[in-house]
Symmetry: C2
Subunit: 229 residues, 2 copies
DNA sequence: GCGCTTGTTGAGCAAGCGCTCAGCGGCAGG
DNA sequence: CCTGCCGCTGAGCGCTTGCTCAACAAGCGC
């Protein structure tokens, strides 16, 4: 370990560290956390690994965050926020028809940057912590509400032009499930699943929904006719 | 810690351990592993926790398995096998029509014992280990092949009666994704999602598939007309 | 009843974990 | 230029981890 030579207070070539505002430092630590989770999965959730990734000492993490679980919760919030921002960007483009907005949103959801195995690792870590960590659960609940709200908005704008009325809330949940399932499949088996076909399946599902081809989601009338198929 | 009293070789009330064949012991350790993963998630994957659950000493695990990752891979295989057995039970019941077999299979897939958060934890652990562990990846590949094969069989038996022909392999993958997505949704948000509606969504999707309402999966003719929606 | 095979034990090791805190030193304000 | 605040460092604490291996003892075959 090379210590600074015998000139005790002289100017030195490179400062041993630099200072930053709490805001900037916290964001940098969150970014480092996401990088570690992407690369190492669960084993990336370590004070030493994250601090090395951020280029700071291990102690700094507990200076800015009460514990590492809070840092991970902040990382979850950050990732979810960026996802939601991307959703809203597509959901509000006024130059497109509602159908086109949904299509664009599908394309964005299955773009290579979303199918990346690193992103998958992040979600695995987040999900597995929800059961034991109240902070994580709070972020999770909040996030999911917003997430489904945007999907509801996108589907709701489709409703007027559709030949069949559907139950909006259930349809949004179901579409979310379909998308998550396709995303999961693509993430667990990278390369075996083409993004284009995932988009196609979502578009087709929405078409079927609008055409009334999914009776379980049709509004009113039949409550729940559970005829055997 | 109560040691055995001063009669060194006398008969004692209870033996300190009992012996078992390698086969029996391995199965017991696998069961203990699944129990720990269910209860504690990632933190359950520990030599000490699993051995305590199995009622044996920590050292025994490395006597029967070269490392704990091998034991977890064996647990993955066991869980996947039992799932597959259950699938085949439904897939081969000769007293039912193909459509009914699929319906039963949907019902079994969303039964309370599958939606259990413990089962979800197991899968999270398995998935997160796939990326870094060759043994896990091997089990994963093998398992998924069998899994999709059964789905293909179930859908294939539907084909003759369907009014539209569909591409079997892609349809099986897509149906698997839909089911996994619904299962995921139900597992991540326990209680917010009713099993009955998941079954209904799957049945509806299959109906749409058979009626040709999912053009992206129709066989032959149009290769990939990517018209904008 | 006795000996032997061998399944089982558990202390021990090195490595890594989250977190603490005394003190170093970057850098702004005087 | 020099002072002092405070962001930052990193050795160190107590703990858990996976795994090893010498010693122990269950229970079969005699």
């Amino acid at each position: 370990m090379v210590r600074r030579p015998e000139t005790p207070r002289s100017r030195q070539a490179t400062p041993r560290f630099h200072r930053a505002s709490a805001q900037v430092r916290r964001e940098a630590l969150v970014e480092a956390t996401l990088a570690c989770l992407r690369r190492y999965g669960h084993e990336g959730m370590s004070v030493r690994r994250i601090s090395r990734q951020a280029g700071v000492s291990a102690g700094l993490i507990n200076h800015h965050f009460p514990s590492i679980t809070t840092l991970v919760a902040a990382a979850y919030q950050t990732l979810a926020d960026s996802l939601l921002r991307s959703m809203r960007r597509h959901a509000q483009d006024p130059d497109l028809t509602p159908r086109q907005r949904l299509h664009r949103y599908f394309e964005a959801s299955f773009a290579p940057d979303q199918i990346d195995p690193g992103v998958f690792h992040c979600w695995l870590v987040f999900w597995s912590r929800i059961a034991h960590d109240d902070e994580m659960r709070a972020v999770h609940e909040r996030t999911y509400g917003d997430y489904r709200a945007v999907l509801e908005q996108l589907l709701g704008e489709l409703q007027p032009a559709a030949s069949a009325h559907f139950r909006l809330r259930e349809a949004a949940t179901a579409l979310g499930a379909l998308m998550d399932g396709l995303w999961l499949e693509a993430s667990v088996f990278p390369g075996r699943f083409k993004a284009a076909s995932a988009v196609r399946l979502c578009d087709d599902w929405v078409s079927a929904l609008c055409d009334g081809a999914l009776p379980g989601l049709r509004a009113s009338a039949q409550r729940l006719q559970r005829e055997r198929p």
